[in-house]
Symmetry: C2
Subunit: 244 residues, 2 copies
Amino acid sequence: MQFIDLLLQHRSIRKFTTQAIEQDLLERLLMAGQAAATSSFAQAYSLIRITEGTTRDKLADLCGNQAYVAQCAEFFVCCADLARNQTICQQSGISSDPGYMEQFIIATVDTSLMAQNMVIAAESEGLGTCYIGGIRNNPQEVSDLLQLPDFVYPVFGLCLGYPAQDPESKPRLPLPLWVMENNYLENLIPDEIKQYDKDVSEYYKTRTGNKKSTSWTEQMEGFLSKESRPHMLEFLQARGLAKR
Amino acid sequence: MQFIDLLLQHRSIRKFTTQAIEQDLLERLLMAGQAAATSSFAQAYSLIRITEGTTRDKLADLCGNQAYVAQCAEFFVCCADLARNQTICQQSGISSDPGYMEQFIIATVDTSLMAQNMVIAAESEGLGTCYIGGIRNNPQEVSDLLQLPDFVYPVFGLCLGYPAQDPESKPRLPLPLWVMENNYLENLIPDEIKQYDKDVSEYYKTRTGNKKSTSWTEQMEGFLSKESRPHMLEFLQARGLAKR
């Protein structure tokens, strides 16, 4: 199979078998993750691998009762981490400040590129994956539980394991709606959106599990019209991040 | 070749041949990009493909005189985009607010996962890639040039093209320094850092191009001790993002 075909087949997996991931393979996934590009060579991320059952259970609960957080073979809390670099500066007696929004972006992007490489590497070996944004439901409680220091925050969780389900891939936005040439396209191309809404509705109506009746437009109305984890800015600034 | 080996061989490419990327392949890269996971199905990103020579030249300049921005076969400005979803809500007469830090994180992560899939897809087809964080040097000027609306910001640029150089991969942090078990590891393991500094120094001393004398510790001291694009927070909030 061509690599691009593998990427095109992506879907999140939320049911896993009990099969463990071999230690050798796990190490290769981690090394594939950190092989991704990193801004200023900062490598501004850490992974917390959660092996304790009680910690898994607590995290599953804090993420909004997502059982697969507890059940998957491996669960990682993927953290943006400027504390490591900060400690290095402190040890050298160099005055430093990881409180800029820019550094927050660098660390968040670094973490995302690393994790996406892990996801692709895992899928290429027959594993399934699921990102857990719910880790930001209760970021302070997660930070306390994992003893995260200042200048570190949990960006998302990541479930890995052998799939016990085979869901369909979700249809994505048509290219003309998100790829533009030379400048931003102001209008939304009503016909393209209408067709896409039909495709998405059809997907939800006919997919194997958890059928429902909704369009993309309806989902986005729900997404943007509700409060969106309104604690995040205050939480991050209390951890020393994104302050200026 | 195994997919993981491809990931492990990554290095950024900053010199490209003049060979164009075929339209079919380019479309497959874009579709591979959007196949990545997206939080809440938001697909909160847009790509601006820059085909005009004058716009390329201006961007190369705004990014800090990076010639390869002008010279590579394809250059994309990768934008976090909450404007599309916002417009959908407005058209339906639904009150919405993309100003939360949480939504800023969602859009930044979505953009990063999409772009990393494009990078991997491109590398699997023999192309070289380089992320351009310099797009954040002058984000307001870039936004004006590309007519980006509110609730959109340029996260990074992305160069694609056939490589005209063959640089070595940079050695990454040893696993014990960034992968932890069940809770955050407070100490930096001095022996591991010392060995890693040696490896990085050796890499810079012996690599094919642009040899220099520096360790990772020295680079991180430089990274965190200088002001880091101090305009970013004000810029983003003026665009309606990360305000609350």
